[in-house]
């Protein structure tokens, strides 16, 4: 019998896609929780106590005990509250989902971040790296194990949708701020339509911050990175 979720607390940050992953999972599973916003420039004693190794969000506290790392948290949620499963039941599907989640965190995510962080000379190379990674995802959607599915999880959103989806909104933000084309619908038709379907889910719309807020945030960070003074809000 699943335990009541009357002692769940999430330490997170409003612009952190890793935090959004957990918030979305909790929403999809219908689990109530307390949320505490962390100021990443001034981390709380609680965060430092519960995640001394990385000192990062998200941290899920269940009955006061910390669960760390977003993908590990998603597995924990599934194993503790099996209703509305996010991780595939079939071992091979599960391994594939884990493989691509790792690809997102290890390859695609950093490549997208590099576009944002690169000076103008390095941009073309950084953009090409993103495209290379997106091509791999596109191919998987077209010919691989996920071919024909609406979502990576099947008819419903699963762990890989959550991991890839929460973060893909940065693509549109960076396209605007950096004035580059990252997801051409003609070059990546399946990825593009998957992302559109993902972002139209009610639960997703409730979690992801408004694009204006993300744009403002990204512009501010970019200006600071370029050494200019941030605009007054």
């Amino acid at each position: 019998m699943a335990p009541p979720s009357d002692d769940l607390k999430l330490l997170g940050s409003w612009a952190s896609s890793y935090t959004h992953r957990v918030q979305l999972a909790l929403k999809l599973k219908g689990l109530a929780f307390e949320y505490a916003e962390e100021d990443l420039a001034d981390k709380s004693p609680s965060l430092l106590l519960h995640n001394p190794v990385y000192k990062k969000v998200p941290v899920l506290l269940h009955r006061g005990r910390p669960v760390l790392e977003s993908v590990i948290i998603l597995h924990y949620l599934d194993e503790t509250w099996p209703d509305v499963p996010l991780v595939p039941a079939d071992p091979y599907d599960r391994a594939l989902a884990r493989f691509w989640c790792h690809f997102v965190d290890d390859k695609l995510g950093p490549a997208v971040g590099a576009v944002f962080a690169s000076p103008s000379e390095g941009q073309a190379a950084a953009v090409e790296q993103v495209h290379e990674n997106l091509r791999l995802v596109e191919r998987e959607l077209r010919e691989g194990a996920f071919a024909g599915r609406r979502f990576f999880g099947g008819d419903k959103i699963g762990v890989l949708d959550i991991v890839l989806g929460c973060g893909s909104y940065w693509l549109a933000v960076f396209e605007d701020v950096m004035e580059v084309k990252l997801v051409d619908p003609e070059a990546f038709p399946l990825f593009h339509s998957w992302l559109r379907d993902f972002e139209e889910q009610e639960e997703v719309k409730a979690i992801i911050p408004a694009i204006d807020r993300l744009l403002e945030y990204a512009r501010g960070v970019r200006q600071m990175m370029l050494g200019l003074s941030p605009q007054q809000q």
Partner: protein
């Protein structure tokens, strides 16, 4: 010696830490498998087809379906062959095992690559960083998982024992190459004890290549070994 069977096939490379991790897991579970040796410098068409994303070993193929990335393969092995279990039943403890396995991948493995490429003070600093990671793991395992041993998983080895235990020979190899002590019993007694217990297990003993042989296989100690990469 594990019987060979066509249902399970492992593509790997000799003297490769990620490959030996997976082989250890298969042997501990008593899974019969066929082993295919890949030439790191001349990868087969089969491997490139099975792992087009990373083009690396190890790749485990189960009933024609390929899985890549050693930590993902280890979890898959546990999902398919449930007995004996390599992960705890309790979800919170499972999350801790996953956390530390992930920590090894994020922190321990990269520094092991780096140490052997550095010299002098830089190498000393990297060795200290590595020792620091081991101490962090020691504390975490003691607080969150240890139930008296001999293994992290208890009486029988589990995922973390496989990951760290199979890396023990590589730690010794790096100690020999770099001339530094990395795993110190006085600093990390639990880690040392379960790693030493692991390499003595009958099921995996023959896979635990002695450091001297690793040194020979990599040519001069000063040369850059790809000690723990999947490649």
């Amino acid at each position: 010696m594990a019987a060979r069977s066509k249902g399970v096939k492992l593509y790997g490379t000799s003297f490769n830490g990620h490959t030996s991790m997976v082989e250890c897991a298969l042997r501990l579970k008593g899974v019969a498998y066929e082993y295919v040796e890949e030439d790191r410098k001349n990868k087969s068409e089969a491997l490139l087809k099975l792992n087009p994303v990373h083009k690396q070993v190890p790749v485990l193929v189960v009933d024609g379906k390929p899985i890549a990335e050693s930590l993902i393969i280890l979890q898959h092995i546990d999902d398919v062959w449930k007995d004996p279990p390599h992960l705890p039943e309790d979800p919170y403890k499972r999350a801790k095992v996953r956390f530390w396995a992930d920590f090894v991948g994020k922190k321990v493995v990269p520094i092991m690559h780096t140490i052997v490429t550095l010299k002098g003070d830089e190498q000393k600093t990297a060795a200290e960083e590595f020792a620091g990671y081991l101490m962090t793991m020691e504390d975490g395992i003691r607080e969150e998982l240890w139930t008296g041993g001999p293994f992290v998983n208890g009486d029988n080895p589990g995922l973390l024992d496989v990951v760290m235990g199979s890396s023990y020979v590589w730690i010794k190899f790096i100690e020999a190459v770099a001339g530094v002590k990395l795993a110190k019993r006085e600093e990390t007694p639990l880690l040392c004890s379960f790693m030493e217990a692991f390499v003595e297990l009958d099921a995996v003993k023959e896979l635990m290549t002695p450091p001297e042989v690793l040194l020979q296989s990599r040519g001069n100690p000063g040369a850059k070994p790809t000690a723990t990469s999947g490649d």
